[in-house]
């Protein structure tokens, strides 16, 4: 300790301390931030020319991981036989597939393929082994939905991962349940139906199509709602409220106190 105190006035001392702390924080954060294994998803299928086009797109982009016949590869990508067009549409339209860098979970990002291309790939995969089709617009419409039932179902089955209003939440080992703020009704339906990545499956016999519409209506209604109390603070609950109480309210009061008790410079030289 005396070695350090003896050199505390060294011209480089300040820089050394700052550099040390930066290195500590940077290394520490890099260590704790996770990088897990990539996991994958599933596509869907439909009509003839589409299927050919889809096959070409598939071979060009997807086959490197999923195999030439979509049979999958151990520890790299699952088989797509039987996953259905809905799964493909979900994964590709949210941009999760094809994935970027390897991570514990694929994030939503701008999709690589256009809607037509996405449907083509989905049609091809559907033709290989069947599976849930892409839902129609009517199937995901919120008209006449029972919002109250949607709330009950959402909060009992979905909120534990996605939070009260679909703001998202943490899972284990670097995985997370994404925010639903940008999800289209079709994507929400497909996700419930096909259970992408860690999400469980809610098939149409367990949660009927009407009940799915109710859930979708609730989610889309609530996320579009204004916040009557002001800024939403993220809609994640008391944590952000506490931060605002300390860093906003208390800080402001301290500044007010400083002003009220400040001495006039002139009078106290």
């Amino acid at each position: 300790m005396s070695w350090i105190t003896a050199r505390r006035r060294h011209p480089a001392a300040g820089y050394v301390v700052v550099a040390f702390v930066l290195v500590l924080i940077g290394v520490g954060y890099a260590v704790v931030t996770s990088s897990g294994n990539a996991s994958a998803s599933s596509p869907a299928a439909a009509n003839a020319a589409q299927i050919v086009r889809g096959r070409n797109l598939f071979l060009a982009t997807c086959a490197t991981c999923h195999g030439q016949f979509a049979q999958g590869q151990q520890n790299i990508a699952p088989s797509l036989i039987g996953v259905g067009a809905a799964a493909v549409d979900f994964q590709v339209s949210t941009g999760r597939m094809p994935p970027g860098e390897a991570s514990a979970e694929n994030d939503r990002k701008p999709p690589r393929f256009t809607t037509a291309e996405t449907h083509a790939i989905a049609a091809y995969i559907q033709s290989l082994g069947g599976g849930p089709p892409i839902p129609s617009a009517a199937q995901v419409s919120s008209a006449g939905a029972n919002l109250g039932l949607g709330q009950r179902l959402f909060v009992a089955n979905c909120a534990a991962c996605h939070n009260f209003v679909g703001a998202g939440g943490a899972l284990t080992n670097g995985k997370f349940a994404p925010s639903l703020v940008e999800s289209t009704p079709t994507q929400i339906y497909e996700a419930m139906l096909t259970g992408p990545e860690a999400m469980p499956v809610f098939n149409d016999l367990t949660v009927t199509p009407q009940e799915k519409r109710d859930i979708i209506a609730y989610v889309t209604q609530v996320r579009a709602e204004p916040n009557p109390g002001g800024f939403s603070l993220g809609r994640v609950g008391p944590v952000t409220e506490g931060l605002v109480a300390f860093l906003g309210l208390l800080l402001f009061m301290v500044l007010a106190a400083l002003w009220i008790t400040a001495k006039h410079r002139k009078a106290h030289e």
Binding site: Q151, V155, G174, V222, N227, F231, L233, G242, L250, M253
Partner: protein, 561 residues
């Protein structure tokens, strides 16, 4: 003049009945020292008043009942949903009563500010040593008020019976259940049966609007009266001694300043209630025992308990047909219990170690009490680690850290971080003391460079001004301990006998370790009150050291200057 007329008229009428002229004059002339940190307590007081005002408003519409109803009100997504009357009435206040949402939000923000200010105020009192004699009882009252505030807030945000606070009540019930011997009885008595029952909301209601506010009011009154009677402490400065109070009189200065501060408090809370949404219960939905949300936390002042519950490993004993659920009742009782007990005993422990039984009315600068400041920061760190762990799922989600890793980091940090914090803080305090000493010995740098005849450049310094001198040289002189070993022909002091005596001596040395002030100089810009023989220093070979103080500072600051 109209002031005279008013005094003769109303003033005379009152004085005829209350004999108030002399007493009230004393009050009007009472001196209040001025420092911004002294206003932290006022934040608490004014937040409390605003809580009372807005709370009364809310009681006019709120229904403290768990009777289930089906909602058909203004908030569309919940129409047709079964909920308690408490929840439905809260929706009603938010959407169907003009100003209702504003009052609800101001009320909740005021509760958050109340608690945040209590922490800030308590920390200020601790680090400036304002809990020392004669203010120990006020310190204890303060800790009691903190506890009451915690409980009051918990009950308050549970009243709307929404999903988030209902989960909190479930956790409360589970924690109570885990208490050995009496746990299940306590839980059943509080809830009137199994969870959730039908009576918990009405019971919490009467505790929240009547019993606890009454207790808080009574204790706050006592707290303020004691402060008034003992007079406020003051920060060190020119002309300020332990025997006086320097400042501005209550009337008109303090009244005006405190009035302005009340307006600021109300303004901040009103603007927060306008622009920052808080406790949007319509988004959480009504409580039902089957549902749960990710990222569920209690209000921030309960966050430490939440973090303690998360950090605890799975540990229980089952012996002779009974379960000791350590995994639950240890985190619920131990960390907070430790912190509060330590805080409550602190003034008396400090008196025991230092032997200092004098009255103290001048605040300490935190750097001049390195051990106290270090321990304070260590406790704050301990509290902070558990607090952060309480939000670990949000931290994991937003900072992209693995969920289990956050818990493991917290499990290690609650032991390691406070120790590190103590060491680092104490070193910083001693370094700041060194800087003060340097200033006293060498003066303030003026930025004027002079070349000496020999070619050398020096910077001119000037002595510190009087105000700064008074501050730099203010130190609590801790009286020396009696010697551990008896001298020739003497009896060992009773206080120093046995193992307790040895421990006391060791603690004394740790507590009083500091950098001594320099000897006063002939030209008068050393310190003026003779504490160059700094009694509190040790390891510096000074003659007034207590014998046997072997805990010498490693010679690190054998002077560089």
């Amino acid at each position: 003049m109209s002031v005279d007329r008013a005094l003769e008229g109303v003033g005379g009428w009152l004085d005829d009945r209350f004999h108030g002229a002399r007493g009230v004059r004393v009050l009007l002339r009472k001196v209040f020292p001025d420092h911004w940190t002294f206003l932290l307590g006022e934040i608490i007081l004014y937040s409390f008043i605003i809580l009372l005002l807005t709370g009364t408003f809310l009681t006019l519409w709120f229904q403290p009942s768990m009777t289930q109803v089906v909602y058909h009100g203004a908030y569309v997504p919940l129409r047709g949903v079964r909920m308690s009357e408490a929840y439905a009435s809260t929706l009603n206040i938010s959407f169907d009563v003009r100003g209702g949402l504003l009052m609800r939000q101001i009320h909740h923000w005021a509760a958050d500010l109340f608690m945040a200010a209590i922490f800030a105020h308590m920390i200020r009192i601790f680090f400036t040593g304002a809990y020392r004699k004669p203010r120990e009882i006020n310190w204890l009252i303060g800790i009691t008020l903190l506890t009451l505030g915690l409980v009051e807030g918990l009950f308050g945000y549970s009243l709307p019976d929404d999903l988030l606070s209902g989960a909190g009540l479930r956790i409360l019930e589970g924690v109570m259940q885990s208490i050995p011997l009496v746990g299940t009885y306590l839980a059943f008595f509080l809830f009137g049966g199994p969870f959730p029952g039908h009576v918990i909301i009405p019971r919490l209601y009467i505790l929240h609007v009547l019993l606890i506010p009454g207790l808080i009011l009574a204790l706050v009154t006592a707290h303020l009266f004691i402060m008034f009677h003992q007079k406020h402490t003051q920060m060190p400065g020119k002309g300020r001694t332990n025997e006086n109070v320097v400042g501005a009189p209550m009337y008109p200065y303090f009244m005006a300043k405190t009035g302005a501060f009340f307006f600021f408090t109300f303004a901040v809370l009103a603007l927060a209630g306008t622009f920052a949404q808080i406790n949007p219960i319509w988004l959480y939905g009504p409580f039902n025992p089957v549902a749960m949300s990710a990222g569920s936390q209690p209000d921030f002042y309960m966050g430490m308990l939440e973090g303690a519950l998360r950090v605890m490993p799975a540990w229980q004993w089952v012996v002779f047909g009974h379960t000791f659920a350590f995994n639950v009742f240890i985190p619920a009782l131990v960390p907070l219990g430790l912190v509060f007990t330590l805080a409550a005993l602190w003034p008396f422990m400090e008196q025991w170690v230092t032997g200092d039984r004098r009255e103290h009315h001048i605040n300490d600068r935190p750097r001049n009490a390195p051990a106290r400041t270090g321990i304070g920061i260590a406790v704050v760190t301990f509290y902070g680690v558990l607090w952060a762990e309480g939000a670990n799922d949000l931290i994991a989600d937003h900072l992209d850290i693995s969920l289990y890793l956050t818990t493991w980091i917290a499990r290690v940090a609650i032991f390691v971080a406070p120790v590190l914090a103590y060491i680092i803080t104490k070193r910083i305090c001693l370094a700041l003391q060194r800087k003060d000493r340097h200033l006293l010995e060498h003066g303030v740098e003026t930025g004027i460079i002079r070349q000496l005849p020999g070619g050398e450049f020096i910077e001119e310094t000037r002595p510190v001004d009087e105000e700064a001198l008074a501050v730099l040289t203010s130190r609590t002189q801790i009286p020396p301990l009696p010697a551990l070993e008896a001298g020739e022909g003497e009896v060992q002091a009773p206080r120093m006998r046995g193992a307790m005596g040895k421990m006391r001596e060791r603690l004394y040395n740790v507590v009083t370790e500091s950098i001594p002030l320099p000897e006063p100089h002939a030209d008068g810009h050393g310190n003026g009150h003779g504490n160059g023989h700094a009694v509190e220093g040790n390891g510096h070979g000074q003659e007034s050291l207590p014998a046997g103080s072997g805990g010498a500072e490693p010679g690190a600051d054998v002077d560089q200057h």
